[in-house]
């Protein structure tokens, strides 16, 4: 994920941070892997392998620990979700490791700590990283598997979309008029005001911002050049702001206009009620994050319980509360279990939505690597 927050910049590598945090927070769990009923939790691909859901809960409680990584508490309402899990399963200690690392670093942490009881049990990953690392995942299908659209899950359950949103522009409505198109942002009114959440050669959210600029400029995802050109013009106009966007910079007004996922921009309203979110008309750019279980998870049953928990109605609604669109939203809307008030509060979805394929992502990554640094100089 693109948690390019300031803490990240402290310079410790993911592995070192994870090891240090985990050592401090985690005591051993001796009987990992083999649960009470003799079920091998590490190979279970659904709840039936444990027997009933209660058996899964019992196996997870016996493990007593759950290592999660890269879940910032102010990201898509994860704080409330983690607290609810802790409240429901007081016997399971959640070890929140390195909340601000990137998706790539999550995988590095799993590889560096493989075989240790400090390795992450579950991941929350951007699509590019998930597609590249399927050999690190264990397949698992939650009870609500059928509700998840096929386009948003790997067929065997190696990784599954969990929540997502549209690339949006957040702006401080006390200082700026609502932008209605990309070109508005090029006008002098937005001088030195427009920031991107991260560098697109590093962070998924920033990458998506260039993708959105591409399709909004009439291009297609086969070629991100129009998007790069847009940000080049933004830089020439003196409107592009290059400071790293964090909750703090938005709260202080340092970054008054921000390209970011709609649910992340929405979250800033807590600090600045005047902060509004716009999803441009026309083609929208969507992105979903993905859940995956570490193949060599030190707490395999707890990892699977966490998945069941995340895909339950209640937690899907908690993501919605954080402004994100949970993956089961359509099915839950049909079933009437979605929180209608929260759903109505989301920015209106654009008429057409695009998501890049793996090939398009890779091509765009290469192009950005060559062109981005000079385009914004």
């Amino acid at each position: 994920m693109s948690r390019i927050l300031l803490r990240r910049a402290l310079g410790a590598t993911a592995a070192v941070t994870v090891a240090a945090l985990a050592l401090a927070a985690c005591s051993g769990s001796a009987d990992a892997g083999q649960s009470a009923g003799g079920v091998d939790a590490a190979t279970a691909t659904n709840v039936a392998a444990f027997g009933t859901f209660e058996d899964l809960e019992a196996a997870a409680k016996a493990e007593g620990q759950l290592n999660v990584i890269a879940l910032p508490r102010d990201w898509a309402n994860y704080g409330e979700i983690l607290d609810l899990f802790a409240e429901r399963y007081p016997d399971i200690t959640i070890n929140e490791q390195s909340p601000d690392v990137s998706s790539a670093e999550e995988i590095q942490a799993a590889k560096t700590n493989e075989g240790l009881d400090t390795a992450p049990d579950v991941f929350d990953l951007g699509l590019t990283v998930a597609l590249k690392n399927t050999d690190v995942f264990a397949p698992y299908q939650v009870q609500t598997w059928a509700d998840i659209p096929d386009a948003l899950k790997e067929p065997t359950g190696l990784f599954v979309g969990d929540y997502g949103g549209y690339m949006s522009v957040g702006y401080d409505s006390s200082k700026f008029a609502a932008p209605t198109s990309l070109d508005d942002l090029l006008t002098p009114a937005y001088k030195g005001a427009v920031a991107i959440n991260g560098d697109p050669t590093q962070a998924g959210a920033a990458f998506a911002a260039v993708g959105l600029a591409t399709v909004q400029s009439g291009g297609t995802l086969d070629d991100y050049q129009p998007g790069i050109d847009f940000f080049g013009s933004l830089q020439k106009a003196g409107n592009l702001l290059k400071v790293d966007v964090t909750t703090a910079t938005v709260a202080s007004g340092e970054t008054p206009v921000v390209f970011d996922w709609d649910y992340l921009n929405t979250a800033h309203q807590k600090d600045n009620p005047a902060f509004k979110v716009v999803v441009f008309d026309g083609t929208g750019y969507a992105g979903y994050y993905n859940q995956a279980i570490n193949k060599s998870a030190p707490h395999p049953a707890a990892a699977r319980l966490w998945q069941e928990f995340l895909y339950s109605d209640e937690v899907q609604n908690l993501w919605l509360k954080g402004g994100a669109r949970p993956v089961r939203m359509e099915a839950m809307t049909d079933a009437g279990t979605i929180d209608a008030t929260l759903a109505a509060a989301l920015p209106e979805a654009p008429a057409e939505t695009v998501v890049p394929t793996e090939k398009q992502s890779a091509a765009a990554g290469t192009l950005l690597g060559e062109k981005w640094a000079t385009a914004v100089q």
Partner: protein
């Protein structure tokens, strides 16, 4: 006239004890001693936490992700973007080192007139010690809060004096914007490293110069500058290396485009959009080590000369 200065200098150099102290450890080394044992914990620490990671990191630059030997990562050091990164890093380091060294030396000179045991000298010493280490995210945030777009100073200048420091664009979050924060930690570092050299300028030398009819100018031209030059250059090189390896301040301020090498290493290691470039980071690290290695080699050469006067 020609013979008398030599007498004076010789008399100064030979009478005090300091000149004989450095010789003592050398003499002691000749007889067998267990003294090296005391160094073992430190040596082990350096080996484990500095040498080993360095070797592993640099080594990774010579292999592909799947573990085969390759020159391609090292060859990528010739890429125009990477070269631009090295040029930016070197330029930024040089500018901030020069400004830091000159300003720091002037501060030291001003301090020279104060009582070495006095409150002023010790508070400046203490402040320099703290501020030299005040880099990174805290420093970046301090600058955002003071001279950011909504910074206290920015707003004060704009609203009270009508001066808009960002009239020509927001330069704080670009490469030039890094100069001010870097200088902020370079000057105190200069004070720490250069003060001992300056204090070693013995008042007797100035007295000798005056006694022999020299002027203030001739003191600096014939004595002060030649004696201080090696220490000054050594400090300058240290400041260069310090800026060259700085990372966190830049990461928090200039988020777009990875314009200096440490940020390019970050990008190669942690990118979630351009994957599979972890080994390029090793090659970049190798490039940095070569640059810093050269600087440090120069430093130790110069330092050896500077040490003569610091006894």
């Amino acid at each position: 006239m020609t013979s008398s200065p030599t007498v004076g200098v010789d008399a100064e150099a030979s009478t005090p004890t300091p000149s004989s102290t450095p010789a003592r450890p050398a003499r002691a080394r000749r007889s067998f001693s267990w003294a090296w044992l005391g160094l073992t914990p430190f040596a082990a620490y350096v080996l484990l936490f500095l040498a080993l990671p360095t070797v592993l990191a640099v080594g990774s630059g010579f292999f592909t992700k799947s573990g085969e030997f390759t020159w391609s990562n090292v060859a990528a050091l010739g890429d125009p973007l990477v070269l631009a990164g090295f040029a930016n890093s070197a330029g930024l380091s040089l500018v901030t080192a020069l400004v830091g060294a000159i300003a720091g030396a002037l501060v030291c000179y001003a301090l020279l007139g104060t009582n070495p045991e006095g409150a002023l000298r010790s508070s400046v010493d203490a402040a320099a010690g703290v501020l030299a280490q005040f880099g990174g995210v805290m420093l970046a945030f301090a600058f955002i809060a003071t001279i950011g777009i909504q910074g206290v100073v920015t707003l004060l200048l704009r609203d009270t004096f009508g001066i808009d420091i960002f009239a020509g664009g927001v330069w704080l979050y670009e490469l030039p914007g890094l100069v001010l924060p870097y200088i902020y930690f370079q000057i105190p570092l200069m004070v720490i490293t250069f003060m001992p050299a300056l204090s070693a300028l013995k008042p007797q030398w100035a007295e000798a110069n005056l006694t022999l009819g020299g002027t203030r100018a001739s003191f600096w031209a014939r004595i002060g500058v030649p004696v201080l030059a090696p220490a000054f250059i050594a400090s300058l090189l240290l400041l260069f290396a310090n800026a060259f390896s700085s990372y966190a301040t830049a990461a928090a301020l200039a988020s777009q485009g990875s314009q200096i090498v440490p940020l390019q290493i970050r990008a190669a290691l942690t990118s979630e959009t351009v994957l599979g470039r972890e080994n390029l980071a090793g090659a970049l690290a190798l490039g940095m080590i070569v640059v810093v290695g050269l600087v440090m080699a120069l430093y130790s050469l110069v330092q050896r000369r500077a040490a003569r006067w610091q006894a």
